[in-house]
Amino acid sequence: MSIEIKTNSAEPIRHTFGHIARRFGDKPASRYQEASYDLEAKTNFHYRPLWDSKHTLNDPTRTAVQMEDWYAVTDPRQFYYGAYVGNRAKMQESADTSFSFCDKRNLLTRLPESTQKQLLRLLVPLRHVELGANMNNSKIAGDVNATTVSQMHIYQAMDRLGMGQYLSRIALMLDGSTGTGLDESKGYWMDDGLWQPMRKLVEDTLVVDDWFELTLVQNILIDGLMYPLVYEKMDQWLGENGAEDVSMLTEFMRDWYKESLRWTNAMMKAVVGESEANAKLIQSWVDQWEPQAYKALTPLAETTVGTEALDEIRAQLTTRLNKFGLQQSQGVAA
């Protein structure tokens, strides 16, 4: 038997805001809809930016990609701010448990010195890649108009900062919170040949103007190769080399990457599928950048899991690109 409390319902004049009703009809709308559609200023801007002679404020031509309506891009996770922080709070809670456990049981500090060094050389420097990703996504959030698109990129920016901080904490756990491990690790990033193609690639992305080109390079091409390589293949390899315990400290990254595929795939599908012109333009960017991402990761793969593993991941990325209607890059063959 169920109990139903009678409530006094008041007759509304309308069910949602005008801009929401124009898109979805005059019916009760979801929290995601009321928070994400048509909130930004679109027209009648008063002054031109002093820092950009080519565009107005909130200018849709900050990318060469053209969409009839950028709101064709939506977030399958339905993240508005509250849903986003709620989800991440749960993820950080389980990461927190793992970090405390590792710390308390000395799971990292009891590793052989050579293994610790490997972590500082092969894993921790990725915090710098994350910082680049943080900057790139903050730029995109500031350049995009449609709130469905801009909000996904600010969430992405903050996630990257968070993951850079988790990687940093691995070093802090190793060096007893003195920072010497971080200094050592940063030395590899700056000077070790292993990292230079990657560091150059990251610095190159920092001067890309077109925000869609940038989200493609950062969030699809680099991440699409790097996350599976580092957090799946290399994770396994570290396990085989006596550092299996570090795996619980990168669980956040695996969960995060799996989730990020949902919105990046939805965005790519909508944008490439919009027009031939978009597909052609984006293909040219894939041709230009994908080989560089591959090259940037090659030394890391060679030192750890081997290039076959990277090639396997590259084939998976190609399959993914095919689903959007794109082809394998025309650059260096896989």
């Binding site: 008041a10 005008g18 027209t43 008063h46 709620g86 968070g162 802090l172 919170s177 940063k186 610095e203």
Partner: protein, 515 residues
């Protein structure tokens, strides 16, 4: 890893977790990665001197913010389920929310965009992280405000198309152009304008009146948002203070540039606050405090102490501060009078204060209300009672800078408009004050671009040849529902029905004459 080094203290640990992730680039020129740091003339000698205004890592941010959101949405849900809109003091109060949603919430969104941009532009990683956290906080404010107002929108008029109106409606170019000005400026001016002048110096004069107004008038949804945003605002204020001190300490040549920005953004902020002043004094059925008291407490006292503190950097209080201090006895009355006669073209209602409210105003404004404003109101009241509710059918002259109609008066003569004009490159421009005129003179090439709503109507760019068509077609203001006098409006009638009273008030049938 055996180590004898000292454990990091909190400050150093946080720097390792933020700015140590950045590095000196070698494959790209730093100036190409950060091209916007020089053109404003600000010199930064050492970004490492930046003191983190707060030390939140992302895991802590997610955790604390998620807890706040959970509580906030539980209250929004309960508010809607229990029809909390029926518990407010009076439906006139909702007009403050209409002003808030169309005038203020879009600024939260513009702030999100602006901070995301500067969160990339600065070469100091500590400053970038602080700006990015503010960006996502502002996105939060933009979205939770939509959700807080969602239920009111269903039961009252005028809240249904806020972002659309913000881009178009004449009086909303006042807030819109304010933020466009800041966002089209360089990154250091943006931070001085928004983080310092707005979020630090003037925030208590924007945020507190609306949120305390909600508390005094039984609006649980809005006041809950206010409580929830308080700790975000505390972070934003800390950033504002850190920014200004950092820029000033970096190079002595920065001092005059910053002083000019402080002068400009104080004046622009003060003009924007005219809207808040009238909201406080006239739109809240239950008063919190008078605008004059709020200005005295939050600007003259708190601001006075702040600028005293900044003296050691060579900074003096904002120019024309004396004019603003004197205007506290006039601006809310002048603004309300303006909106009263132009509410055929607003998304909210206006009305004449009731007798007790006028007595309150006499008491709060002993030197000005009875002398200058009460007679005007009594006259309009009488006209209304006789079926001639006054609407002004001639559009006003707008100030070229703040874009408010030129309604403000000389400091020593409240009966004389402080109109100013100059000719620039053969064209004539008008201002409400010396403050706005100075701002124009320094950057005329910027302000000649302004999209002045009245001019645009006359140029035929607002989809109508008469005001009524512009209002309905271009603004999406529903004539006879969203606009005009409160008495006799659909909101008024619906409220009386909720309270179980029939109309019967004065002028029930004359609500739209002369429009």
């Amino acid at each position: 890893m055996a180590t004898k080094n000292k454990k990091l203290n909190l400050k150093d640990r946080y720097q390792y977790l933020t700015r140590d992730m950045a590095w000196e680039p070698t494959y790209q020129d730093k100036k190409d990665i950060f091209p916007d740091e020089d053109f404003e003339g600000i010199k930064i000698t050492d970004w490492s001197q930046w003191e983190d205004p707060f030390r939140l890592t992302m895991d802590a941010y997610w955790k604390y913010q998620a807890e706040k959101e959970k509580k906030l949405y539980a209250i929004f849900d309960a508010f809607a389920q229990n029809n909390g809109h029926q518990n407010i003091s009076d439906a006139r109060y909702v007009n403050a929310l209409k002003l808030f949603l169309s005038g203020v919430s879009p600024l939260e969104h513009a702030a999100f965009q602006g901070y995301a941009k500067v969160g990339r532009q600065f070469s100091g990683a500590g400053a970038r992280v602080a700006c990015q956290m503010q960006a996502i906080d502002e996105l939060r404010h933009s979205q939770t405000q939509q959700h807080a107002m969602s239920h009111y929108n269903k039961h009252f008029n005028g809240l249904h198309d806020a972002a659309h109106m913000h881009d178009r409606v004449w009086f909303l170019s006042v807030p819109k152009s304010f933020f466009d000005d800041a966002r089209s400026a360089g990154p250091f001016e943006f931070l001085t304008a928004i983080s310092f002048s707005f979020e630090y110096v003037l925030t208590n004069l924007l945020f507190v009146p609306f949120m305390s107004g909600a508390a005094y008038n039984g609006d649980m949804a809005t006041v809950t948002f206010g409580f929830s945003a308080q700790s975000d605002e505390a972070r934003h204020m800390t950033l504002g203070l850190e920014v200004i001190k950092f820029i000033l300490e970096q190079h002595e040549d920065n001092v005059p540039i910053v002083q000019r920005w402080i002068d400009k953004w104080f004046w622009r902020g003060f003009r924007l606050l005219s809207l808040v002043g009238m909201m406080m004094d006239y739109m809240l059925p239950k008063k919190v405090m008078s605008w004059s008291e709020a200005w005295e407490m939050y600007y003259e006292q708190n601001g006075g102490a702040l600028f005293k503190d900044l003296e050691r950097y060579g900074i003096r209080p904002p120019k024309y501060q004396d004019v603003a201090n004197d205007a506290k006895n006039h601006v809310s009355h002048q603004a309300w009078s303006t909106f009263y006669q132009y509410s055929q073209a607003t998304n909210f209602h206006t009305w004449m204060p009731e007798k007790e409210e006028m007595d309150w105003l006499s008491q709060k404004y002993p030197d000005t209300f009875d002398k200058y404003y009460r007679p005007r109101f009594e006259h309009w009241d009488k006209e209304h009672a006789e079926g001639r509710r006054f609407y002004n059918n001639t559009l006003p002259q707008l100030c070229q800078v703040c874009q408010i109609p030129t309604i403000f008066t000389e400091k020593d003569d409240p009966t004389m408009l402080s109109h100013r004009q100059i000719v620039h490159e053969g064209e004539r421009f008008h201002f409400c004050s010396d403050g706005c005129c100075d701002i124009f003179k320094h950057e005329p090439e910027k302000y000649v671009q302004a999209w002045l709503p009245v001019h645009q109507i006359y140029q035929g760019n607002c989809e109508g040849e008469d005001v009524e068509t512009v209002v309905s077609k271009y603004y999406h203001i529903n004539i006879g529902e969203d606009n005009f006098e409160y008495i006799g409006s659909p909101d008024h009638k619906r409220w009386l029905a909720i309270k179980g009273e029939s109309g019967g008030n004065k002028a029930d049938s004359t609500d739209q004459d002369a429009a």
